[in-house]
């Protein structure tokens, strides 16, 4: 047991001190934040200069009101965001000819793009926006909103209603979802549940993959330089395995803990309480640790027999699929947390942690379900660890070809 601690300390401190770890500690959150925030920031960025938008208006009635509305948008220095250019307006317009003329202007970058309003646009509301790049969503949304309002106002007027009434009659709608609990109503939101379940899954996913991969790597290294022989002559294989699992888990938890702190600090700063209540968090943590142990044992059983880096990658691929499965099921579970299939699947050890983590924030499962799943998890972990230990014991000394599935089964039986 003491030697397991010696191994754990070594694995932990040697990796913590490495540059790769420190880099990962800081760079990963930066990348995450970057991926989450940067595109939004960039997309939300204002245009840098005034854009000239051409209009071909075969109705002859839409150009003027649209120009008034669109030229109200201004840029940071007060200059207009858009200028609408009259290309051909009036009911005698030859659209084909005007389009050819406008296309040439777009080609020559004289126009950002142009709008084609056919002669029937007032009735069928079909219009076309043509440009080199079809990606300026904000411009298109603004054109769409304003044209919609212009057309609606026209229709109101035709029926003798003051357009001002339209604005008064517009209803604001916002459905709040309320979760019914014994203490009374508690406001919740789909996003909040989704978010907490997702964070749970991602953290688990990440932790298993990193520490599992590190474990497979370190065994692989020790196998290839034969340090493993010295190790197993100084301690038992189970001490070695336990030490590695402990040390590398501590490493993973250090990393996750550090990121959690960053995340908490930033949510505190932005004042959003995306966190579920403490009792739920605690229970989720229990499932997190159980899930972690179970998956780690699988990782050892499948990972330690590999003999090359390429095989380690392959095995990693399979394990990712195991882990991806619950992620794929997040949305269906959230839609029907009480469905029979959800309850049944909850009892499959591979799925228990994630399914419980999904169900807890939506609707707290009954006490007996919680106890039953925890007991099932503990039993499964116990057996999986025995299997992993037996495979580990043989695999660390095996060299050459990777063991076949049949051989693995034999190792487990003989152990």
């Amino acid at each position: 047991m003491n030697k397991a601690i010696v191994v754990a300390k070594w694995e932990y401190f040697e990796k913590v001190k490495s540059k790769a770890f420190l880099l990962g500690l800081f760079i990963t959150p930066l990348i995450m934040v970057g991926m989450g925030v940067l595109p939004g920031l960039l997309a939300g960025k204002e245009d840098e200069s005034t854009k000239i938008v051409g209009v071909i208006d075969a109705t002859g009635e839409l150009f003027e009101p649209l120009r008034q509305r669109m030229e109200r948008y201004t840029l940071s220095k007060g200059q207009p965001n858009y200028i609408l250019q009259h290309i051909a307006v009036g009911n005698t317009v030859d659209i084909a000819e005007a389009v050819a003329q406008a296309d040439a202007k777009v080609e020559g970058d004289d126009l950002e793009g142009y709008l084609v309003l056919g002669s029937n646009a007032l009735n069928d509301s079909v219009m076309e926006y043509r440009s080199k790049t079809a990606g300026d969503f904000r411009l298109i949304n603004r054109l769409q909103d304003n044209l919609k309002n212009i057309l609606s106002e026209r229709k109101f007027r035709e029926r003798g209603i003051d357009p001002a009434v339209m604005n008064e009659l517009r209803v604001a709608l916002d459905i709040k979802t309320v979760k019914v609990t014994k203490e009374g109503g508690e406001e919740t939101s789909f996003m909040k549940t989704f978010f907490s379940a997702y964070v749970f899954l991602m953290a688990l996913f990440f932790l298993i993959l990193t520490s599992g991969q590190l474990l497979v790597r370190s065994v692989l290294e020790e196998k290839s330089n034969r340090i493993i022989e010295v190790l197993v002559s100084s301690c038992t294989p189970s001490e070695l395995m336990m030490g590695k699992v402990l040390g590398l888990s501590a490493l993973g938890f250090t990393q996750i803990g550090f990121w959690a702190l960053i995340a908490l600090a930033s949510t505190a700063k932005f004042g959003t309480s995306a966190l579920p209540p403490a009792n739920q968090m605690l229970l989720m943590l229990v499932y997190f640790v159980l899930g972690y142990l179970f998956y780690s044992a699988i990782f050892i059983a499948l990972g330690t027999p590999v003999t090359t880096e390429q095989e380690a990658q392959q095995i990693n691929g399979y394990l990712v699929m195991f882990l991806i499965l619950p992620v794929a099921l997040v949305v269906p579970v959230m839609q029907q947390p009480n469905a029979l299939w959800v309850k049944i699947v909850t009892y499959i050890p591979l799925m228990t942690p994630t399914f419980m983590a999904l169900r807890i924030p939506i609707q707290m499962p009954s006490l007996w379900e919680i106890v039953a799943t925890i007991v099932i998890m503990i039993i499964s972990i116990y057996f999986m660890m025995i299997v992993a230990g037996r495979i580990f014991r043989v695999a660390i000394l095996a060299t050459g070809k990777r063991a076949s599935l049949g051989e693995l089964v034999r190792w487990v039986r003989e152990g």
């Binding site: 003491n2 030697k3 010696v6 191994v7 300390k9 070594w10 040697e14 490495s18 290294e221 290839s224 330089n225 034969r226 340090i227 022989e229 010295v230 190790l231 197993v232 002559s233 100084s234 301690c235 038992t236 000394l397």
Partner: protein, 301 residues
């Protein structure tokens, strides 16, 4: 100290070790010799409890292998390797910790050994920054730092330059003085001959020769002649009364049949070669080795 009795190990259809027995005492250097693949390393691995024997018994002071045994053995494997990215001192302390050595004691010992190997300036360097020879020294330190009673060294001299070989040899003799039991395996007979008190020759998994160097040599008689010469020595192979011959470029070791007096052919040799040395002595371990293993091969064929 160590008793190995009737050890057997099969790898699928191959019998790697077949009925190997030997004893190693404290204060003894025990040479385990044999060709590559003879079963030396497999035997060593079983002694160290890395492999489980299929049959046979291994005891340490009449007791079977236990967790206590782990702390009194030291092991230098044949294939060298250390954690490349780790620092020298940290690495040594890790291995000493695995042998249940206390941190403070380990630190003091580590410094002593690093000093002896002139590695002190590198204590905080990474292993990968060292030369191969120096890495081997570090690994050697990890195998003896915890003052083991039984030290097992698999091909300890391979890859060492002559200066370092002498350094290692001196340390072996020191350890022997301190009543440690030392097993070392090698296929270099001159090393085994210079160092061992006892030898055990393994061939195809079986012990074909064992005992003290003196006894072994006696058994093979002393009817051996060492020659150093200049000229073409090819004719030496066809001398009368010859049992065996090992030819080198400018030297030869001739083994004559018992009862044959080598003196009588000296004139013939002296006439054909410019002799620098003519010495009557015991056969070298190398010639015994070649003879023994050669005979086995012939018997097999």
């Amino acid at each position: 100290m160590l008793r190995v009795a009737n050890l057997r190990k099969d790898f699928s259809s191959i019998r790697a070790v077949d009925g190997v027995s030997f004893d190693v005492e404290r204060g003894q250097i025990f040479g385990l010799i044999g060709r590559n693949g003879a079963g030396k390393t497999t035997t060593i691995r079983m002694v160290l409890n890395i492999l489980q024997p299929d049959a046979g018994e291994i005891t340490f002071d009449a007791k079977p292998f236990s967790d206590q045994t782990r702390n009194i053995i030291g092991y230098l494997p044949e294939e060298r390797g250390l954690y490349k990215k780790s620092k020298l001192l940290d690495t040594i302390l890790y291995f000493s910790g695995l042998r249940a050595m206390h941190h403070h004691a380990a630190k003091a010992e580590a410094k002593k050994w690093l000093d002896r190997f002139s590695l002190m300036p590198y204590a905080d360097k990474k292993v990968e920054e060292l030369s191969k020879g120096n890495q081997q020294k570090v690994q050697f330190i990890t195998s003896i730092i915890h003052d083991p009673q039984l030290i097992v060294l698999d091909e300890p001299f391979s890859g060492l330059d002559p200066v370092n070989q002498i350094l290692f040899k001196d340390i072996f003799l020191d350890l022997k003085q301190k009543s440690k039991a030392i097993i070392f395996s090698t296929h270099q007979m001159d090393q085994a001959e210079k160092l061992s008190d006892e030898i055990c020759l393994i061939h195809h998994g079986r012990v074909v020769l064992n005992g003290s160097i003196r006894d072994v040599k006696k058994r093979y008689g002393s009817n051996s002649v060492h020659l150093e010469f200049e000229g073409d020595g090819a004719f030496l192979r066809s001398l009368p009364g010859l049992k065996d011959v090992i030819m080198y470029e400018n030297s030869a070791e001739l083994q004559f049949a018992d009862g044959f007096n080598p003196q009588q052919i000296l004139p013939e040799i002296a006439a054909k070669l410019e002799l620098r040395k003519y010495e009557l002595r015991e056969p070298s371990l190398e010639s015994i080795f070649i003879q023994t293993v050669g005979e086995k091969e012939e018997a097999k064929a």
